[in-house]
Symmetry: C2
Subunit: 473 residues, 2 copies
């Protein structure tokens, strides 16, 4: 543990002023950088201020919306005002889906006069219902196997896909992965056997009355049917009613619709490398967010941290050899156009991306990094773990880096994903729960410090997809 | 990462039914236990239910209070009802300090007519003020060195000890340690130079209007003066006013008082070891809590987890070779009588304590364990880290275990302290912020699972203070 009262910390910095480090220097030389980053970061926790401004100005910023354009303008202005030039907006076409004003559902229980309202929200990309809504008998399944085994008896019904996230799985992302197929493929699989609509149990471990949205897919040749998320409380209610009586019916009405693609863009700014400006370390998050809550954790937090990486490196007075670029990707949530567009952009010929880092698992206390690279690179990154442990975040695991940087990674660029304490993430994810008050300023900032450290090390030392330090020209 | 959908998990348990493990067996054999503990624990998260009941029935349970006795009765009943016999209450005398109904403070600023109320609370153990209160000019210092350098100019004044916790220190417990001397020794040091009262900046990283209490000490031969915590917002307000004008005065009135010692007790219940019942692994927390909030994190969480360790081991159907005892210590906060009384109890002769574990850093996501033992034991415990990593908590660090088990540890028993994600802890600590809604059921439960695993391994394998597995007789 490193106790660093102010005076000692300052005197260390005077004794050992930071300078561009020679490649391959021992990791210990970065200890002073850790202290300096903590010094400039942890008193103000500026990342939280950025996040507050973003979520106040553009709480709803789904691709194609005016909020998304507002978010781009905000980020662009922040980058320019802080001198992280050149600041670039690279245009791209994005899907434009709108929820619209109407989202209604009720359950009609045999023998009861009053229908019971259900807390639902359309899944992103869903078609709307006819004006008069859709009403049909409800049928519950836990899996697609069960659905298809029911065969023709599904025809004309509304299907409730009600398999919960498994709370026994330690990684909530892994538990999410075990349930989210119901949301992404449910409309296709249910339509194949003749269902008229789909309700999907919200993919969350929380038991509350808040529906969690997310994208769905439709398939060529399969009828498109309306699909909505239902809160876990609502899903449990339906399960109970179905156990008690036959003929439970649900009525749904949604106004959502897909409009023609819109122009939008990826935004980026940078600290340009002093020696090798064309070698780029990307740190990013996605600027678009679902139109529920204000996308504070998903992924306002990642955007705020990407900005903060540049901010605290500059406040710390260090200029890396290579360029560190904060990229604010558009359209991760519904369409995933931003990442591929960034990776394929022809205008930036001459640049070489040497690493890419994304934070898109929420702004919680950092634990370390997922590394998506060859095993030699993994070994190299593990050798830096003692530094990350100074920030309480020395976990280095092979694993997926991030959706937005995936195209870069697929092209051979080593990828990194911020690992965080994820127990609470899916309580908020894609729902009205995902608001600023769920983000802790100190946890958010510590994640930015950790990312700044990784970016700086790579920008100084270089890193190659083959696990060798780059020859430094 | 261990993906364990229900069917696979169940079939593993059928193929490899758990049985008492032979000593020294490879750590891999415990993987099935991890799965089974997750299986019985994570669906219900019973620890949260225990905590809810405790904090509803006995939200205020400072030693000597009726709430403390209510807490003892609750825990005792829970242990008895669940068959964790023998259930024992070992009596001890505890300090009995009462806050009483009056806590008032205002600041009087020269040139302003209205005085400004300050959010304060007496420090535990403080004497009260005279009925008419205490009023004096205010003087601010950041350290005892500064205080003593002022010498006679302090006489007759109220001293504000206003050094903040250092937000740049990564471990919040370490940052706390760098500021808490103001609270624990402030009344002594200020009285030495003639101060009439002390206000201490709340030892928290949060900037809010909530004062955080905690214990103070007085010293023989030094006058006892009233001492109170002031919220960080209030402390910043006073700092600003003192910078702007001379003659800022504060008036304080407190009704707190110390009554004669009261009888109270430590409570414990256990799963008795099948082979070596007299060899004891202690898992504990402290049942007393400050009379602010409801002590949900400090240390209701540790108590709930200690109970849950027994609960989930029993639900998992395993009986360890050695006894696992959940101990609910009384009087950690103001006096520290419970731990020494437990360690010294003569009635339990014949027992041998082989390890002690305490959770008293809040019910947050677990990270691993502090180990307070010789280095060979540390190495042995580190060899179990891959198991703990299955729960996302493989960090093993040398460090202090816990106040309550410290007397056992000092007598040679290996000590363990649950390591958690601590960024938020001091936002709540010893204040009205420390309530149930700040505890996440899943994080709390995961901490219980981790502790159950450690206790079971030790109870099966044995552990000695010399780092060798015990010879198993």
């Amino acid at each position: 543990m490193r106790a660093t009262p102010l005076l000692i910390s300052v005197s260390i910095l005077f004794l050992f002023p930071l300078r561009p480090a020679p490649a391959q220097e021992p990791v210990d030389d970065y200890h002073a950088l850790v202290d300096r980053l903590l010094d400039v970061a942890m008193r103000d926790c500026d990342a939280f201020d950025f996040l507050q401004q973003l979520t106040v100005r553009a709480p709803r910023r789904l691709s194609g919306s005016s909020g998304a354009e507002e978010a781009i303008a905000f980020v662009r202005a922040q980058l320019v005002q802080n001198g992280f030039e050149p600041v670039v907006v690279e245009s791209l076409l994005v899907p434009h889906w709108e929820r619209g004003p109407v989202e209604e559902a009720v359950v009609k229980i045999p023998g009861r006069e009053a229908s019971v309202p259900l807390s639902v929200c359309a899944l992103g990309g869903s078609i709307g219902t006819p004006l008069e809504g859709v009403e049909a008998e409800l049928l519950e399944v836990q899996s697609f196997e069960e659905l298809h085994a029911l065969g023709e008896s599904v025809r004309g019904k509304i299907v409730l896909l009600n398999r919960p996230m498994d709370p026994r799985v330690v990684s909530t992302f892994e538990a999410y992965g075990g349930a989210v197929d119901q949301r992404s493929r449910g409309a296709i699989e249910a339509a194949k056997v003749g269902a008229v609509a789909v309700l999907v149990r919200s993919v969350t471990l929380a038991l509350d009355n808040v529906p969690h949205t997310g994208s769905l897919r439709y398939a060529e040749g399969v009828p498109r049917i309306p699909a909505a998320a239902i809160s876990t409380v609502g899903a449990d209610l339906l399960k109970r009613e179905l156990q008690q009586a036959a003929g439970v019916r649900v009525w749904l009405r949604f106004s959502c619709r897909t409009l023609p693609d819109s122009w939008s863009g990826n935004v980026f700014g940078q600290i340009t490398g002093a020696e090798f400006p064309d070698e780029i370390v990307v740190v990013g998050g996605h600027l678009d967010a679902w139109d529920k809550g204000s996308g504070a954790h998903d992924d306002g937090a990642g955007c705020a941290q990407a900005f903060e990486v540049l901010n605290i490196l500059r406040k710390a007075g260090v200029t890396p050899k290579r360029t560190i670029r904060a990229v604010f990707f558009m359209n991760e949530e519904n369409g995933n156009r931003g990442g591929p567009a960034y990776a394929a952009a022809p205008a930036r010929a001459g640049e070489r991306h040497i690493a890419a880092l994304e934070s898109d698992r929420g702004g919680f206390a950092p634990r370390g990094f997922y590394v998506e690279a060859d095993s030699a690179t993994l070994v190299a990154v593990r050798s830096w773990a003692p530094l990350f442990e100074l920030l309480g975040a020395g976990l280095i695991k092979p694993g997926g880096s991030g959706v937005d940087i995936d195209p870069l990674v697929k092209s051979g660029v080593p990828g990194f994903g911020l690992l965080v304490d994820d127990h609470r993430y899916f309580d908020y994810h894609h729902s009205d729960n995902d608001t600023l008050d769920k983000v802790h300023p100190r946890e958010l900032e510590m994640g930015a410090v950790l990312q700044a450290l990784l970016c700086y090390i790579i920008a100084e030392q270089g890193i190659s997809p083959f696990g060798k330090d780059s020859p430094d020209h």
